[in-house]
């Protein structure tokens, strides 16, 4: 059971998507698990043959529990851990009267609900989950609460801000978008994400994880994009290797992530891999974001609203589209001076968006 965040302790296996005997390739989706962050697709990190599954659908197991044994191509199987004993549902799952009543209220067919109770019984929570109402947001709220509480308790944050002239970006975007079909059009976010990702190459101390009392820089730059869900939750899935993606690729990947975050079909690696988070909160008039670092990450970059403001150029005042970029970073790992250089680097790159 993969850990999909600092504070995930357990997950429930929903279904196997591969059967024993089937060949699997690194990156394949082999199972679905239900977690505080919604239903997540679990990928394999090795290629070979799925020898056997160790956890039955419906079972809730702690993080770290082996889910299956995969015989690596040309090798011996990975050591088989102790299987977890779970009841196997036989025939039609029982439904409690309360669950049946709720199912009727919510317009859910109880026979079509996958039960997670004893002997596969359909519980109230199963019915609520099947209806798509309530539960996911509630549980995600708890997961966010645990992560931010740990962050504010353990991480000594420092905060700095830098106002950036987005004139060049706005002009460049208008030129780019003029002749593009809607599905290929760009928004500011894609350019901001690219500038952050490329600048991080020079600031490994911000692209790191705090593990066992020290910072471990991460070679890959996987930018977690904070996405608020409409039922009240928050996820920050990774744009893998964001520094190597073009602005176009970042745009299409962002659209895909938002779509799947809302649908509840993010992949395990997308939730476990971010090395830094970017949160773009300007849509409702926020000028300045004071971010909370998502542990074990060590930094979060925020962007506020793009506003028309007074800007001094060559001693004269002009009106320019401005954005406030902020950095909240772990002071155990980096200092304000380095953070300031990082934000200045982002601002520099946004002066020439065509070169990003």
């Amino acid at each position: 059971m993969p850990a999909l965040g600092a504070d995930m302790t357990a997950g429930r296996l929903i279904a196997w998507l591969k059967r024993p005997g089937e060949t699997v390739t690194r990156g394949d989706i082999i199972a679905e698990v239900d977690t505080d962050k919604g239903v997540i697709e679990v990928e394999v990190f090795t290629s070979g043959v799925l020898e056997k599954t160790l956890v039955e659908p419906g079972a809730k197991v702690p993080v770290g529990t082996p889910l299956a044994v995969i015989r690596e191509a040309g090798g011996t199987p990975a050591p088989a851990p102790t299987p977890v004993a779970v009841p196997t549902p036989e025939g039609r799952a029982p439904v409690s009267p309360a669950a049946r009543r709720l199912a009727a209220e919510l317009g859910v067919d109880p026979a079509a609900v996958r039960g997670s109770g004893p002997e596969g019984a359909v519980t109230l929570e199963d019915v609520r989950r099947a209806s798509g109402k309530g539960v996911r947001g509630e549980r995600m709220r708890q997961a966010v609460a645990a992560a931010v509480t740990r962050s504010k308790r353990e991480i000594p944050h420092y905060y700095i801000g830098h106002t950036i002239d987005l004139g060049p970006v706005t002009t460049w975007l208008a030129e780019q978008n003029r002749d593009r079909p809607v599905a290929r059009r760009l928004v500011h976010s894609a350019v901001l994400l690219k500038a952050v990702a490329v600048t991080l190459r020079d600031f490994p101390e911000l692209n790191a994880r705090w593990v066992e009392g020290r910072a471990a820089p991460i070679a890959d730059i996987n930018v977690g994009l904070a996405i608020s869900l409409r039922d009240g939750g928050l996820v920050a899935p990774a744009l893998h290797h964001a520094d190597r993606l073009s602005v176009d690729e970042l745009m299409s990947t962002t659209l895909d992530l938002v779509e799947r975050a809302r649908a509840g079909t993010l992949r395990s690696s997308e939730l476990s891999d971010p090395t830094i988070t970017v949160t773009i909160l300007g849509e409702r008039g926020v000028d300045t974001v004071y971010g909370v670092i998502y542990p074990p990450q060590v930094a979060i970059v925020g962007f506020g609203k793009v506003v028309q403001g007074a800007w001094v150029v060559d001693g004269g005042v002009v009106v320019r589209p401005l954005v406030r970029a902020t950095l909240a970073a772990d002071h155990r790992v980096s200092d304000g001076h380095r953070g300031a250089l990082f934000l200045a680097g982002v601002a520099d790159r946004l002066r020439e968006p065509g070169r990003l």
């Binding site: 978008n177 003029r178 079909p181 809607v182 599905a183 928004v187 976010s189 409409r230 039922d231 938002v258």
Partner: protein
């Protein structure tokens, strides 16, 4: 396509973007984005959905015209009958 069919099509796309919203309460002349809390990424998804369903590609220069539901219906009606 009648205006009512257009309205159903547009509301159908909006329902995909904001499934929890009660679209019957949408004020037809006020900005959709403010009413449904739709950000720039979701607005793109809305326009991509409109393009897929109705084959009308709204250029960036016309975003102001399609900000409200009535604006969008008027715009689509004009484009489709042109």
């Amino acid at each position: 396509m009648t205006r009512d069919e257009l309205r159903q099509a547009v509301l159908g796309v909006l329902k995909d973007i904001a499934p929890e919203a009660d679209l019957s309460r949408l004020a037809p002349d006020a900005p959709i984005r403010d009413q449904l809390d739709i950000d720039s990424i979701d607005f793109m998804r809305f326009l991509i959905g409109i393009n897929e369903k109705l084959h009308v590609d709204v250029p960036e220069a016309d975003y102001q015209k399609v900000a409200s539901l009535n604006g969008m219906l008027q715009y689509l009606g004009d484009r489709l009958s042109a």
